[in-house]
Amino acid sequence: MDVRSQISMVFHLDKCIGCHTCSIACKNIWTDRKGTEYMWWNNVETKPGTGYPTRWEDQEEYRGGWEVRGGKLRLRANGKAKIITNIFHNPSMPSMDDYYEPWTYEYSELIHAPEGPDQPTARPISMVTGEYIDIEAGPNWDDDLSGSPVYAENDPNLAALTPEQREQLFAIERLVFFYFPRICNHCLNPSCVASCPSGALYKRGEDGIVLLDQTRCRAWRACVSACPYKKTYFNWQTGKSEKCILCFPRLETGQAPACFHSCVGRIRYLGVLLYDASRIEEVATRPDEDLVEAHRSLVLDPFDPEVIAAARANGLHDSTIEAAQQSPVYKFVKVWKIALPPHLEFRTLPMLFYVPPLLPVMSSAETGKVANVSDGLFHVADESRMPIAYLARLLGAGNEGLVRYALRKQLAVRSFRRAATVGDVEKSAAERMLAEAGSSPEEADAIYRLTSLATFDDRFVIPPAHREEAIEMMKDPLQHKQEVGFGLSVAPRRGL
């Protein structure tokens, strides 16, 4: 057992209101520089939809992530042989057009336009070329465009549905969509790291954050094509690739990353997971339908004395183990089993988990008015407006059972709370639902608390970074001990 710690995340999709505050927080801090205009380390997509970059989930086109060939994991796009033969022209490289061309407006037109019969307008200008452009796409171009023939209908996940289900999904008055915020998943088996010919990408040992060394990056851009989530970006100004750094300077000082901190719907949770690194390859080569459970089995119980001993033997600080015990992510993923990783079939083992959305109200327009279909306020998971097959394709690597389990447990918790606060649901019926969903009143209460009442400290359990220990490797903190204190640490500049 090779126990390591990973800062992991849970996004509760049922709570996301699609306000893009996270994206803006991230943009303002990290990607407001020249060359990074088109990057959104954090972006929010509408599902069903094509996302950003367009149809990123379609690995037939983009060829990101891993595939199992001959029982072994291989990079889909650029294994060692392919990277050498294609080093001057990467055949799987998306162009900026597949993201969007960033733009600003010529605001001076509003003030300085000559007098004329029409209202002056601010014309859009490309932030890359400086020329006037016609805006054709944006990072959230398909926002709320559920049912649109161009965007929603081209969602690659719809392949999991029957033609009948697809038709229903886009029928007037039955349209459905939910939001899907995305950041770098800081995967356990990152294909971007594996693909880099310069060795510029690395997974930080102490907390598993995947970083890109700007001094070692040689602009091969193999990471851009290799990441199946398209979360590494090429800075066209500096000629280096960049990616989400999970705001590690904030984490190291005990603050939540900016997108987590600013989240209006409080959908984001962050905490440490302990995992068994020795089993990564074995887990990543499992067949699709076993992947989610195998991935979950990688996460170790931080209360198990054996795990604690192995963690200590591996040099993990007691404070990290303590943080793992209080981790909200551990509860969502391992204890309650209601958070699932996105597109695990790409086999990078993402460490960002999503609680699938309920989208409860089932309605139809049969009588000319919009009316509820199911009897009660809450429906049966299988009659969800968003077909379970779709969610399973997105979050369960095709395994519907796991998604159904997560949805049913959430429904049961809602009924249970409804019985407690409003009283229009029989308490015994609610408890029966809980039992059927494999839960208990105690667990339902805990889920309710962490979902609805959680404070900052409940949502973000950040382990101390122990930078003081890291600094000891480079500097002796006691170097000046017992010195008299005269003199200057920086010598003054005198004379000419």
């Binding site: 970059p53 367009t54 149809r55 799987s92 162009s95 057009d97 054709e136 081209n154 094509s225």
Partner: protein, 301 residues
């Protein structure tokens, strides 16, 4: 503050430049001294052998001493035919002497069918003196070491011509490892694409240099500024030289100049480019093209 900083930096840079300049200057003075010493050494004890070596390398390709006329005149008894002053002046700067309208020099040029003796690198007044001494000494001998190559007179055969063609085109390597002629020269009848364009077309060379002996000796140690350094360490064997002579003779007998092959060349290039583009397109047929644009312009995919 910033400006003062800059001024300081500039002063520092100037100082550094000065130091570097002085250093470079002193190195150059040193090398001049060394050159001087070398020259002194050359004029010393070993001068007779050095002069012979110099003659073999630079003069023997056009001149013999007692071997008869090749490209240039036979130098046996030249010191008697001309004054020492005239010889010194001519050897130091042949084109200059001809240009000055000197009657003897003009006559010599006519005799050489217009071939002008080039200014030879490394010829100094000291060297000229030694060369004239060498000429006098060798003329006195019954058979000079510079009487010309014995093999250069034998009749050329078909086999020589075939060998010459193989050597010229590089189909057969030169024994001493020199580069094949074709890498720089072309000649009439060489093939569809011709040879190199760096050096001159060699079709008329046989006639221009004045026949078998002259060309063979020329080839044995090419004196021209570009060819000398290339073949200095890789001289042709007598058989190779004769082979090339035979080949150039037959090429010259066909007359005219080498065929211009630029059309063939461009056409071949065009065909090659199209072929490689098709090959690339096929090899990378599954490459990423675009996702968003076809989605928007074509509606459904």
């Amino acid at each position: 503050m910033l400006r003062r900083e800059n001024r300081k930096k500039r002063a520092f840079l100037t100082a550094r430049c000065l130091i570097v300049g002085v250093a470079v200057g002193s190195v150059r003075a040193g090398s001049i001294g060394a050159l001087f010493l070398v020259t002194m050494g050359f004029s010393g004890r070993a001068s007779a052998q050095d002069a012979a070596a110099f003659f073999r390398q630079n003069c023997a390709s056009c001149h013999t001493i007692g071997g008869g006329r090749t490209t240039g005149p036979d130098l046996k008894g030249a010191h008697e035919r001309r004054s020492r002053a005239w010889l010194e002046r001519f050897i130091l700067d042949p084109p200059g002497t001809i240009a000055s309208g000197d009657a003897t020099a003009t006559k010599l040029q006519r005799e050489a069918r217009g071939v002008v003796m080039p200014r030879v690198a490394g010829v100094t007044p000291t060297v000229v003196g030694q060369l004239i001494d060498l000429m006098r000494a060798e003329s006195a001998l019954e058979r000079s070491q510079f009487a010309g190559m014995a093999s250069a007179q034998r009749p050329l055969t078909r086999a020589d011509e075939a060998l010459g063609r193989a050597l010229f085109s590089g189909a057969r390597r030169l024994e001493a490892g020199g580069p094949p002629c074709m890498s720089c020269h072309t000649v009439r009848g060489l093939g569809a694409l011709g040879g190199g364009r760096l050096g001159p077309d060699l079709t008329g060379t046989y006639g221009k240099l004045g026949g078998q002996q002259a060309l063979a000796t020329w080839l044995a140690s090419p004196p021209s500024l570009t060819m000398q350094p290339v073949f200095k360490g890789h001289p042709l064997t007598p058989d190779e030289a004769l082979g090339l002579v035979a080949y150039l003779k037959s090429a010259g007998s066909r007359g005219g100049a080498a065929e211009t092959s630029s059309v063939n060349f461009v056409l071949l290039g065009l065909v090659g480019s199209i072929f490689s583009l098709v090959l690339f397109d096929f090899t990378w047929r599954r490459r990423f093209r675009a996702v968003r644009r076809p989605l928007v312009t074509g509606g459904k995919r």
